[in-house]
Amino acid sequence: MQQERLGRLIEPIHDAALAFARCLCRSRADGDDLFQESLVRALDKLETLRDDNAFRHWLYRVIVSVHRNRCRRSFWSRLVPLGDREVAGEDFSRGVDRARAALATLPPEQRETIVLFEIEGWQIDEIAALHGVSASAVKSRLVRGRDRLRTFYTKQLGIGDVTPILVPGDSP
């Protein structure tokens, strides 16, 4: 019964939520895994969702929560020169690979904020509501995330001419 309910609720946002999960991860396959794990958790907790209209935010919150758990779980990967931090030897000729590698250097909350704002096109207050923080905190995360991305592009990839990402309300 809950599976049917989940199937019905997820229908309009399935592809967008899957794309969000894929953007958060280092590879598409990892993103698919994250989405699958999030759906399993969502199915498990679906009975706690009272208002079906709030499903979109609720599912994204589940994805964010599972993503953070996975980041915490793989803390040891920072100690070895593999995975997210590996830059040398990788092919960055494709913009997608560059973006993935750059996003992987961000802390999870900055990564989620950048993806939601820049790629998914969410508004600041929507992101603030999703993360349960103030709008200024979201803006701060965007600015810090943007700085880190720029640093990655200039220092790690050696690309000097980087157009900064602008947050609405900021002066260029």
Partner: protein, 305 residues
């Protein structure tokens, strides 16, 4: 450039979305090589489990099936004979009237033993077939993965636990019924042998009601014990205390003493006394049988642990 790369990432992530039926299912890959490899690995693991599984599970299950069947057979047989003895027409038609206590005892022992041996053997075969099924492949990878998620040891534990309350309840119930039948047969034999010539067949029928009341109390006690064991409650532990056995033996002595007294005095005890003796007899057998069965069950649990 960063914006362009992020936009490219967004485009790439939206490309080739997974079908909904796959993301909402348990498995993301639809029976590919990964699932088959997982299945094969799990199958190997389960086969090892089965090979090294202690034989105690099989033995305990078979004995419990045997006890449950023997108990059930005792209950059915004893109740049938009780009704046959109490009904003048049936007892005359089928020659039950000629049955004496030693005949009943011999019949009960032989039939219970035969049932126990037959049911134990059947239980072993059933256990074997369930174990074989636990590591069998059906062909569909995901169905196999689902089935292999539960190993042979889990299946064996579940089988042993499921039969446990039945084995205990039927065994105690069977002991109570056979004891009641034995007591009633002695009484009927005496009446028909003319020792208590003033007792009529109607009195026999009336006393069947007395025995039935006592048996109903016994059935309620047995159901309570069986239910507690099914719920894995510790509330039956007090039944394995030595005092229960002692109390049961004292009750047996008291019941036999008053029974013998009535026989020797050639006097019909009152209905209240007869009812009291029947209930005391049932309680005594319940106490002794519970002690013995639960003590034996405790030994089995230790073997399984």
């Amino acid at each position: 450039m960063i914006s362009a790369d992020l936009a490219a990432l967004g485009e790439d992530s939206r490309r080739d979305p997974l079908p909904r039926e796959r993301t909402l299912g348990v498995y993301r890959d639809d029976g590919g090589l990964g699932a088959a490899a997982r299945r094969d690995e799990l199958l190997e693991q389960r086969r090892h489990e089965l090979a090294f599984m202690p034989l105690a599970y099989s033995h305990v299950f078979a004995h419990r099936v045997g006890r449950a069947a023997a108990g059930a057979a005792s209950i059915v047989g004893a109740l049938t004979l009780l009704f046959a003895l109490g009904d003048p027409l049936v007892s005359t038609l089928f020659g039950v009237a000629r049955v004496d206590p030693s005949g009943v005892a011999a019949l009960a022992v032989i039939s219970v033993l035969m049932t126990y041996i037959g049911a134990s053997s059947l239980g072993e075969r059933l256990f074997e077939s369930r174990m074989r099924k636990a590591i069998e492949l059906a062909g569909d990878v995901h169905a196999d993965l689902d089935r292999l998620a539960e190993g042979p040891v889990d299946v064996a534990r579940r089988l042993v636990r499921r039969i446990d309350p039945w084995a205990v309840a039927f065994m105690i119930g069977g002991c109570i019924c056979v004891a009641a039948l034995f007591g009633y047969t002695m009484f009927a034999f005496d009446a028909r042998a003319g020792r208590w010539h003033h007792w009529t067949r109607l009195a026999l029928q009336r006393d069947l009601v007395v025995v039935m009341i006592a048996l109903a109390i016994g059935a309620a006690l047995v159901a309570t014990v069986g239910r507690a064991i099914a719920r894995r409650s510790e509330s039956t532990r007090w039944l394995t205390h030595g005092a229960i056995l002692g109390g049961g033996l004292i009750l047996v002595g008291v019941t036999l003493y008053y029974g013998m007294l009535a026989r020797m005095l050639l006097r019909t005890p009152s209905i209240a006394t007869r009812l009291g003796l029947s209930i005391a007899g049932v309680l005594a057998v319940f106490a002794i049988a519970s002690y013995a069965v639960l003590w034996w069950r405790g030994r089995e649990q230790k073997r399984l642990a």
